[in-house]
């Protein structure tokens, strides 16, 4: 379409409103705590959270580890479980989509386990693994595997039947159709699971760490409560939020790269 470049004025009011909104939010938060409207045993002012943040960068006390160590622990657990979820979930879903026998055998078990919130596995995990890293990895893995399996399965199911018939007329074997046609056409669906699964993983990571951990961001939050330090609770929540957002961005970039790779 032929066009010429022009400058169009965007209404600046919306940007101003957004900035004002954020400033008001933090202002009100600071004010209600400083003025004593909300007792400081219940909520910490943003300034206090910021101070604690700087302090926790180097100090391990009173909860036993620096902020970096907590974050590293959480990231390690999340990434390990996430990668394991991909390694197991994607092939499982792909096979369930293409091979009737695999589907018939795996589906009932999958459907039985799926409605159980991963958090409910915590007591069993403590039986099995204690409160070490593997118990949490297991819970996060259970959470993360579901989207990968479902999306891979649906992806294979959505393969254009015309493509499969085309391959059959050329005499392709079942296995060839599966690897050369079904898997590639399922890839966009599988990439779609990357974000969903990550969100599940991160939620359940916090849950697992609240209940069974001696290190990690969830543990930091829980320690803040036990020590009656609301600033530590808020700091933990902020770190969880930022961590989740950061990993989300990384996965988003990855997903775009991968999708662009397919289109080419």
């Amino acid at each position: 379409m032929p066009y010429e470049e022009v400058k169009v004025k965007q209404p600046i009011i919306f940007k101003i409103l957004a900035i004002l909104s954020l400033l008001t939010f933090f202002g009100v938060w600071e004010f209600i705590v400083d003025a004593g409207i909300v007792p400081s045993t219940m909520l910490a002012a943003p300034s206090k959270v910021a101070i604690l943040f700087v302090k926790k960068l180097t100090q391990a006390n009173p909860d036993g580890a620096t902020l970096g160590a907590h974050a590293w622990m959480s990231a390690k657990e999340a990434v390990t479980a996430y990668v394991l979820a991909i390694i197991v979930g994607v092939p499982l879903g792909l096979f369930m989509g293409w091979f009737k026998v695999v589907r018939g055998l795996a589906r009932p078990i999958f459907e039985m386990i799926r409605p159980i919130p991963p958090i409910a596995w915590i007591p069993l995990c403590i039986f099995w693994f204690g409160i070490g890293i593997w118990g949490k990895v297991y819970i996060i893995w259970i959470a993360g595997i579901v989207p990968f399996t479902i999306n891979s399965w649906v992806g294979v199911n959505m393969t254009d039947p015309a493509l499969i018939q085309m391959a059959r007329t050329y005499g392709a074997t079942d296995w060839q159709i599966f690897t050369k046609i079904c898997i590639p056409s399922a890839l966009p669906m599988i990439f779609g699971a990357l974000q969903i699964s990550l969100a599940y993983c991160w939620t359940n990571l916090v849950g697992a760490e609240l209940l069974a951990a001696d290190k990690g961001l969830g543990f930091l939050i829980e320690m803040g409560r036990r020590l009656a330090m609301p600033e530590m609770v808020v700091l933990g929540m902020v770190c969880v939020g930022i961590g989740g957002a950061l990993i989300g961005i990384v996965v988003d970039v990855l997903e775009r790269r991968l999708l662009a790779g397919i289109r080419r």
Binding site: P2, Y3, E4, E5, V6, K7, V8, Q10
Partner: protein, 252 residues
């Protein structure tokens, strides 16, 4: 006789992606008579849908103005009914629910609007499908609903934006016949946009052609004096078809 619709020197620019100014229409002037079937014929990307949307009042022209009965059009209104290229049926409503929506918006009482809607459902030949949802209908049937919906609102002017562009050739021919039948049953001023030259000659009292490529400009106006119903194989039909093809940049 004063014309029903007058377009005076219409030009239109669009802003896309926030900074690209696209020139879509340039200096379009035309008149549409009362109860006339006017066809606007142009290739893809010639701004003809935009012209129709301007007449419908959904877009405002950058320059120029559109008059209806001598009054300037400033926005959409019940006096003009639009049939969309991609049907735009309300997928959450049944055929009856879709056809009666215009009446419902105006607060027509239920019994009355059911009666009117039923009349137009019958007119477009969808009797018995009142309770179906759009996804249960074929493409041709969907557009029948679109036509009935516009008709039921009793507009003075019907605007049809490539209504049969998504149909297969056979259904398309059939729908053209139906359109003519419906128009003959309840005469209205019709502006019909298409990129199909046969469709244009089959339906139009007059044909306005637009030049290809943006911005869309007026090319020529042809009268179609053939008696109705027309036959695609009539000698005059074929001659007129040849003439338009030769003169215009339409590539078929």
């Amino acid at each position: 006789m004063t014309p029903k619709i007058v377009c005076e020197n219409i030009s239109k620019f669009f802003i896309q992606k926030g900074k690209q100014r696209v020139h879509v229409l340039e200096d379009i002037s035309l008149e549409v008579m009362n109860n006339e079937f006017l066809v606007i014929l142009g290739p893809g990307q010639s701004g003809k849908s935009t012209l129709l949307r301007i007449i419908a009042g959904l877009e405002t022209p950058t320059q120029g103005r559109v008059l209806k009965d001598g009054k300037e059009i400033t926005g959409p209104g019940q006096d003009r009914g639009l049939v969309f290229q991609s049907y735009m049926l309300f997928f959450w409503r049944t055929v009856m629910g879709n056809v009666e929506i215009g009446l419902k918006l105006r607060g027509v009482e239920k019994k009355e609007r059911r009666k009117i809607a039923q009349h137009y459902i019958n007119l477009v030949g969808l009797e018995g499908f009142e309770k179906h949802f759009p996804h249960q209908l074929s493409g041709g049937m969907k557009q029948r609903v679109g036509i009935a919906r516009a008709y039921a609102n009793n507009p003075e002017i019907m605007l049809l934006d490539e209504p049969f562009g998504q149909l297969d050739a056979q259904t398309r021919m059939f729908m053209e016949k139906e359109t003519e039948r419906i128009w003959q049953t309840e005469k209205k001023t019709v502006i019909f946009v298409t990129n199909n030259i046969d469709e244009a000659i089959y339906l139009g009292d007059r044909i306005v052609t637009l030049k290809g490529k943006l911005p869309g400009r007026m090319d020529a106006i042809y009268d179609v004096p053939l008696p109705r119903p027309r036959e695609h194989t009539d000698l005059e039909f074929v001659e007129l078809r040849q003439m338009i093809t030769d003169k215009s940049e339409l590539v078929l």
